[in-house]
């Protein structure tokens, strides 16, 4: 355990060095958030029907998705993927620790450090925008606490999916196609592109059972107060269950592959 904690610490400190890159990424996210909000504004102002979600909550939802993008499993760990492509992954196999957990610790740092750098400026700016684009604070303290806890749940799901993306590189060296496909599935089904409450009812039902809804949708709906605090336990268990399932799945496909691994290069 101690080894994993120090891996997290070292990676975390290293990733915090890339401040300029994080800020640049933050600006991009901000830009996209603005476009999405303006599109939503157009939709909301052309319909008077009752919507499953208020315009205010929808904006907060979009900002939350943009701010937390770094935490979503939309790509793998570049360094691990390069190790696999060059064949240096064989060194990783020599380390006296569980490979999956080692990569998991790296994924943990990868998903937290840049997100911390990126999300805080986006939150601050989004909270200060004029009312048509403004993000709103949670209605009460309990929503905020529920958000923190479910964000941790989201992080666990995210790390397990990140690890699965890393492992798929072992199966197909380029792996580019599958990964991009996976990342676009993650972005749409987590609610980053369109808030999940706006999806058609049947589709919404299906999506609510998938792990992706645990990434953005659940934490954000606690944040806006749409899910009541007393349902926290149920939703958090749902996240944990998926995290455990994906953890086991990842372990399994990794171990299966390692047995007959062919290392690249000479």
């Amino acid at each position: 355990m101690k080894a994993f904690i120090s891996i997290i610490r070292i990676r975390f400190n290293l990733l915090l060095q890339y401040r300029i890159a994080a800020i640049a990424g933050g600006v991009t996210q901000f830009f996209f958030g603005m476009i999405m909000i303006m599109v939503l504004y157009g939709f909301y102002s052309s319909s008077d029907g009752e919507m499953p979600m208020s315009y205010q909550s929808a904006i907060t939802y979009i900002w939350m998705g943009q701010a937390m993008l770094g935490m979503l499993p939309w790509n793998g760990d570049m360094e691990i993927q390069n190790l696999i492509r060059t064949g240096n992954v064989s060194y990783e196999l020599l380390r006296p620790m569980n490979l999956y957990n080692y990569w998991f610790a790296r994924a943990f740092a990868l998903r937290t450090a840049p997100t911390l750098l990126k999300s805080i400026p986006i939150f601050i700016i989004a909270l200060l925008l004029p009312s048509d684009y403004k993000m709103h604070l949670p209605p009460n303290v309990s929503s905020f606490i529920a958000w923190i806890l479910t964000t941790f749940g989201a992080l666990m799901i995210s790390c397990t999916i990140t690890n699965i993306i890393n492992i798929t590189t072992l199966y197909s060296i380029s792996g580019d196609g599958i990964q991009r496909l996976l990342s676009s599935i993650v972005t749409i089904f987590s609610g980053m592109v369109v808030p999940l409450p706006l999806f058609p009812e049947k589709l919404k039902q299906i999506l609510s059972y998938l792990p992706f809804s645990g990434l953005v949708d659940i934490p954000t709906r606690f944040f806006t107060g749409e899910i009541a605090f007393n349902q926290l336990l149920g939703y958090f268990c749902f996240q944990c269950l998926w995290a455990v399932l994906l953890y086991i799945l990842g372990q399994w496909i990794l171990n299966r592959k390692i047995k007959d691994l062919i290392v690249q290069g000479g």
């Binding site: 300029i20 890159a21 640049a24 990424g25 600006v27 991009t28 830009f31 996209f32 476009i35 999405m36 303006m38 599109v39 939503l40 504004y41 157009g42 939709f43 909301y44 102002s45 052309s46 319909s47 029907g49 919507m51 048509d132 380029s174 580019d176 196609g177 599958i178 991009r180 496909l181 676009s184 599935i185 749409i188 592109v193 369109v194 706006l198 999806f199 058609p200 589709l203």
Partner: protein
Amino acid sequence: MDSIKLYFKYFRFNIESQLQYKTSFIMMSIGHFLITFIEFLGVWVLFERFGNIQGFIFEEAALFYGIVHMAFAITEGWTRGFDTFPKLVRLGDFDRILLRPRTTVLQILGHDIQMMRIGRFMQGLVVLIWAIFKLNIEWTLGKTLLLIGSIIGGNFLFSGLIVLQATLSFWSVQSLEIVNSFTYGGVQAAQYPISIYKPWFRKILIYIIPLATVNYFPAMTILGKSDLLSFSKWIGWFSPLFGILFFIFSLSIWRIGVKHYTSTGS
């Protein structure tokens, strides 16, 4: 004339080399098709929920979507060399290009032509054809030419943006993610009719990054709608030319950049 012949030679070599890995090529193309299809799902979801956006129905929006995505797919395919240009500068490889007795633009364009972008192109085409079948448009020769013209114009506009983005790397060797938001953000913004946006954002899309000229104005003319945001009626008929003008303008900025170039050495 000689340059055009040379470009086609580059073109042939690129295709031949990419077709060496047939399965990989097919998988990547299918991947691109599916990814853009998932993006389109987001648009569908919003229309399913709200019915219309400022009087535009889903089929009409699909026409805008198809034009923009086909245009951008062509751009992604033939300007890939400019897209990855910062790397060329960073590694000092641009020096080699300067030494050869051909223009820099030709060589960089020929450097990398990505055929697999055909996936996005096909998806745009499918959406466009679907929209055309669903909408009752009175087709004339003029409108058909205008449709093709707006795709070509759009391609040149996006290409111009990519060239400008590459030009920036003469001043900063760091690859700047921010400029990406103009191209990708532009695609996002222009896949809806710009009249849905607030006036300040519309002005940006008309005067600063003139995406409206290759999308909104011609598409409105094709649809036979009269809301041209107080521009006169003829603007739709030759506004796609602005895309080409923008590209020529970008090339002249590029030339200034090349004069300013200092090698990174080694």
